[in-house]
Amino acid sequence: MKRKMTVARAMVEVLKSEGVEIIFGIPGAAIYPFYDALYSSDIKHVLVRTEQAAAHEASGYARTTGKVGVCVATSGPGATNLITGIATAYMDSVPIVAITGQVNSSLIGKDVFQEVDITGATAPFTKHNYLVKDPKKIVKVLKEAFYIASTGRRGPVLIDVPIDVQMQEIEFELPKEIDIPGYKPKERGHPLQIKRAVEAIENSQRPVICSGGGVIASKASEELKTLVEKQKIPVISTLMGIGSIPTDHPYYLGMIGSHGQKEANIALRQADLLIVIGARLADRALGDTKITENMKIIHIDIDPAEIGKNVDTNIPIVGDAKQVLSEINKRISERKDFWAQEIKAQKKEIKEDGNLHPYDVLKEISRAYNGDYIITTDVGQHQIWAAHNVYIKEPGTFITSGGLGTMGYGVPAAIGAKFGRPDKEVISITGDGSFQMLLQELATIKREQVPIKIVLFNNTRLGMVYELQKKRCTGRFIATCLDGNPDFMILAKAYGIESLRLESKEKLKEAIEIMKNHNGPFLLEVVTSPDEPTIP
């Protein structure tokens, strides 16, 4: 049934039809008709303090709910502020739809006030984007955007709508189905390739699975576990793949790569068959592609372009990880021995001393919560500390900017995650550098009373870079000391957020208890030595 309404109203109607419950954004003149239409809907709008945070919050929401996250900004500076958030989502294949206002369509291209070519700017790091000049197309475009963002290899889609278009009247009708000729994602793996994969696994002596974010995105963890347990295959993961299998699983060896665990890297070097699932194997994961030269490689990915991009593949399988793994599991036999037994046994325990180390804190958090939380991280040493030491029980509960490595991601992502999963404890692990990149979001936390916990490792350094300078520049430190940090306790107070500073190991348990039992947002500042290494 057709109804007459403005484009802005129609946009809201489509969002409702897509099940959107929450939007993150900041209004402006070029998007006010849309906001006006939002006024009379029951979609919740979260007013953020900068648009980058809106995109990260939408991303955190998407990653915990599996739904599409939505963020909104006005034209020009509002739209450009979204960019880092959109690029972050793109690199991590997170489904978000970003809606931006645009100047009057008759003025596009004339460099008028607050005009920017946002579709041009975001083309390299959106899955797709649209500038909607024809009001009649808005409904179809929005529907397509949700479809594209949430299917195949997921990712961000941007829709730019000129203000005059938002105000025009159209006949509103939802399209029955979406047909995009150039977009037909393939979910099913090729049966012949699956057969070859099964043979290769059964014939291998030392198979290793490298599990990536794709396993979490396709909800393939159970299937992964079945395969791993049947064939007794050690699992190593990328940063994005952490949590695809519980981190205390007997066959899990840890994260690989330059910042990875030793055991994981040893297993990778000794493998004769590497099964890559939903991972790109970027430089940071692999370090040197030469190590894969003498092994067979099976690569399973929903995005055909990932296969063979960074390493040569013997058995490429294009398809959804869950589908492909369950097909493999149907055919695969059982294996008796776990070849990586010795490697796993070598796992070294960190020596106790009287000082307070980040890993003590992270282990204590893991113990106190027993994995019943969602962890988000920022980027830096603390991210790696978390990757190595936090117990992750369920897939999708470790949220980090793995691809772009965006400082400032953690706290907004935690806010989005908490809106997505209010039933879960959400803990954001951050550094003093990262935290200060988007700390204005404390205002969003205050206004919305978002009960997240922030664990801030304060080493008064841009630690990761400081450590690099120590090693590579023989201690020529430049621009890595964060003198001038605020007193984070007073800062938290200014936003009405409870906080605590932790300086000694004796107080550790107590501090975590206080944080855990506090009802509402909480900041725990952990005073950390600048010389604490990333990997002890």
């Binding site: 083309a123 797709h128 500038l131 000729p181 150039g182 037909k184 055909p304 372009a305 063979g308």
Partner: protein, 170 residues
Amino acid sequence: MKYTLSVLVENHPGVLSRVAGLFSRRGFNIDSLAVGVTEDPTISRMTIVVNGDDYIVEQVTKQLNKLIDVIKIKKLNPKEAVERELALIKVNANSQTRSDIIQITEIFRANIVDVSKETLTIEISGDEDKIEALIELLKQYGIREVVRTGLIAIERGTKVITKSKSEEDD
């Protein structure tokens, strides 16, 4: 090696820039890119000539396929395709050289499309080698300007590349 890709895309504004942008961003070299609308006005065809090895062509194809506006890509086998390029060549000509140039033009089955006191403009279509050969011969008279379209190509025989058979090639 040079490879010719025939690419069907949605006839939207911005598609060309997406395709061209992808090439520069990913560090691929395009030798030429020719675009025009097809028998279906909602669809354009791009003929892209890429320089590289098998890995590059595979990556180009896969990355292009990821663009939502790209409907279909086919790598053409030069033996099974008709390939043509159009060139306009403006060359110096005076009373002594004019008849030589006209002769050369005829041998190449090219046309003279404009004449002035000092120049002749020649239109030639054909594959790249033929055009190169003509340009080479005309160099001695002094070439003023060359304008080339880049290659377009179509499969020989009854084979066609259309939107409907979109799964076949990946």
